[in-house]
């Protein structure tokens, strides 16, 4: 996938910069971008280390297993290849919990951990398994119950009721999530033929 998208991004950037006369800005952005990437990596390293540490602690005390029981039905339906007690489904549950609570910082390390666990049982190591695709699709939809950043920004700009949109937001998120899951399920069945 990225073998097509990434070159397309780079080529489109250079062509558009030529059209819009922004070549100097573009040249600068190459340096800035690479620099920002390292800054991003450093800034996520802390939370990656912290939350994978916390996850390990929760795993050893069997807390993650207890949490994953709550989602057992969901896991069975969405990730049929994962047994409810497996490390993969525990990490998936932690990832979903963190997403729901709006802990974006924690959701990524848990999600990455789940991907690594799913990779262990993946037959071809270069190709994404159905479970991996499903997990990624779920994570590209927003599951947050209370989007703190959004509400804070709305309040800052003088919204009368920053939380007013929440019920509508949940409906929207749920629609998007359902479409994502259904699409992933439909396409995976066709793959099995």
């Amino acid at each position: 996938m990225l073998n097509y998208i990434w070159p397309a991004m780079i080529l489109i950037s250079i062509i558009s910069a030529t059209i819009t006369n922004r070549i100097p800005e573009l040249a600068n952005s190459v340096l800035v971008g690479a620099h920002n990437a390292i800054n991003l990596a450093i800034s996520i390293t802390g939370m990656m280390c912290f939350w994978t540490g916390i996850m390990k602690t929760a795993e050893k005390s069997n807390l993650t297993e207890k949490i994953s029981k709550i989602f057992e039905f969901f896991i069975k339906f969405i990730f049929p290849e994962c047994t409810p007690k497996s490390k993969a489904s525990q990490a998936i549950c932690m990832n979903i919990t963190a997403n729901l609570l709006g802990l974006g910082n924690a959701a990524t390390p848990f999600g990455v951990k789940a991907m690594q666990e799913l990779q262990k049982s993946n037959k071809s190591k270069k190709t994404a398994s159905n479970g991996m695709i499903m997990l990624t699709v779920i994570n590209t939809a927003s599951l947050q119950i209370i989007p703190t950043m959004l509400c804070t920004l709305r309040q800052k700009h003088g919204s009368e009721n920053p939380m007013k949109i929440l019920p509508y937001l949940w409906v929207t998120s749920l629609c998007a999530l359902t479409v994502g899951i259904v699409a992933a399920k439909c396409l995976e069945k066709r793959k099995g033929d």
Binding site: I14, A17, R22, V112, T140, T172, A176, G180, K191
Partner: protein, 173 residues
Amino acid sequence: MQNFGFYVVPAMIFMIILYASFKNVSVFDEFLTGSEEGFKTTISLIPTLVALVTGVTMLKSSGALELFANFVSPICTFLKIPPQIAPLAIMRPISGSGSTALLDNIFSNYGPDSLIGTIASMIMGSTETTFYTLTVYFGAVKIKNTGHALICAVLADICAIVTAILTAKLLTF
């Protein structure tokens, strides 16, 4: 309620550490073991992040998004969608900071409770930085062939944008 986020993190950490101590887990040692795994993962992500972030920064500075938004806005007007939404909808899947900046801009120009402000809020709240998520998740396990992941994620995003516009119109009128 808005401070919810501030309480969740300490509450969650408190619960996990307390439960582990209660179960006689050597909390510090286990934390370090897990932490080390996380560290290795992040280091292995650096090349992917450099490629992605540089690409996105180039795309943002090149004016390609504005060109695309200009192209899309007549279609938006035709569909009775405020065309000011187009740049945000295009930016959202590729850059978190970029889309936050656009949202802030929309809020200061039109107000958060206007139709445009509401649609923008809904789009922001119901989607994620899809491209970043896909890259990091698959990058972490070195998956080259991502199958139907992108199509499904984009379909979900389109659904979110359409539902956001419809529900926002419902909400403000």
